[in-house]
Symmetry: C2
Subunit: 267 residues, 2 copies
């Protein structure tokens, strides 16, 4: 048994979709969330820079005495998970392995699409993970750089979002994929728009839920679960406070939250 908290890290607010699943599956665990809002988005940045940012986030979360860390950001997972797991001695869980496993289980025709930021798609991290499970699956990646700003503008269900989705997804439709991994934690917010574009026969895979189950399994295996019997707490930290984070977070989590600022470059 271990009463310490779980650190959850994202480049901004997309990781809240993962936090929500963790709260659902592990309601009694304490969570410390850090969103790197001063340096979002990670998508277009170099591997070297993303590794540095990830290490700083982990260093900060460790000052909060956490027992495990979830990198709730596909770009950061793709670019820096292996490096982080090598450097630190606590369990560090990314979102990609879980998403890849779900996609491999979901596809029936063996053709899987992966959408994400430029960094995630270029890294080919989903390809590698899916191939580990089943070499025969064909994987088609597509970077959708405008999806994050569209979500952050609150335009997820507009004609601009639909037209953008149409443009990005036409290649995947031509390839006849039957499953698409939402390879960015913002994308579940676009699920309806994406679903309408690709049609009901294409399954949209959201790695957040499977990631939460991965976390639970690791805590159980390592005997790190809390013995607490009441609901755990949630603390929220960001590297830059802006109204958008607080308002979107409130709307998404359906309650008011307090957010504190961290000088992340000091870590």
């Amino acid at each position: 048994m271990d009463e310490r908290g779980i650190g959850v890290f994202d480049s901004g607010l997309g990781g809240l979709t993962v936090l929500k699943e963790i709260k659902r599956i592990l309601p009694n665990e304490n969570i410390v969330y850090f969103g790197d809002t001063a340096r979002v988005p990670y998508g277009p940045r170099s591997k070297e820079t993303i590794i540095k940012y990830t290490f700083q986030a982990i260093n900060f979360l460790r000052t909060k005495d956490v027992k495990a860390i979830v990198i709730a950001c596909n770009t950061a997972t793709a670019r820096s998970l292996a490096e982080a797991q090598e450097k630190y001695d606590i369990p560090i869980i990314g979102v990609i392995e879980a998403g890849a496993r779900t996609a491999a289980m979901t596809t029936k025709n063996g053709k899987v699409g992966v959408i994400g930021t430029e960094g995630t798609i270029k890294s080919r991290a989903y390809n590698q993970e899916i191939k580990k499970i089943n070499k025969k699956i064909k994987i088609y990646g597509k970077a959708c750089s405008l999806f994050v700003p569209i979500v952050e503008e609150g335009w997820a269900n507009t004609e601009v979002a639909r037209l953008t989705a149409k443009e990005y997804l036409k290649d995947l439709k031509e390839k006849d994929v039957d499953s698409i991994v939402l390879g960015c934690t913002h994308y579940p917010i676009l699920k309806r728009t994406i679903g309408e574009e690709v049609g009901m026969d294409v399954k949209l895979v959201n790695p957040a839920r499977e990631t939460a189950y991965d976390l639970k399994k690791q805590l159980e295996e390592k005997n790190l679960m809390t013995s607490r019997e009441e609901a755990g707490t949630c603390e929220y930290f960001v590297s830059d406070i802006n109204e958008k984070f607080t308002s979107i977070a409130r709307e998404f989590l359906k309650r008011k939250i307090d957010v504190s600022k961290v000088e992340i470059q000091r870590y």
Copy 2:
């Protein structure tokens, strides 16, 4: 006479539109460009964070022994120009005063639109500057957060850009403005799309050219012009190297450039 260079600073690559005007008007001056590509975009960040980033950029440029600095970014000018001018003892020029002056001269019906990032519009910096020149001018601001990512995706002349422009500009059209300030250095790249949406009768004001003239005037007044008779050099620094910066910069400047990386948080 002063043979030192001129520092030009932007959050990313938009400032190259200003650099190009400076090269045209002051061809013999040496220029040192810094683009904060590891922390772009500045638009949604807080005033406090933007002031810190601006000071770091200026500290870095001063290590290159520059005689004047141009903040070639509307958000950084809006949020931090006054603070930077107070802190440093060399001429520091922003883009907003020049843009405001041009807008005040251009409008005939006294109704001016200003488009920019969330940070620029919220700061009301253009409103203040235009009011200083002519209190009677009515100013209508509109944040267009998706324009920067659309330009950086290379989608400036697509249907998505047109639909986005239509949505953002409908309020300004209703207000019957006869001039619109392109209050973000990326926006000149969208000039055609914006122009088609608002019609030929609306003048689009690009502050870059006037900013270069402001710089020239200040160098002349302070006796800081170079005596060099051949073309000056250009050095390019960024806080994160990615292919996009290099390729868009090459395309826009019509030549190959060398880019060096700076660890900007050390300054």
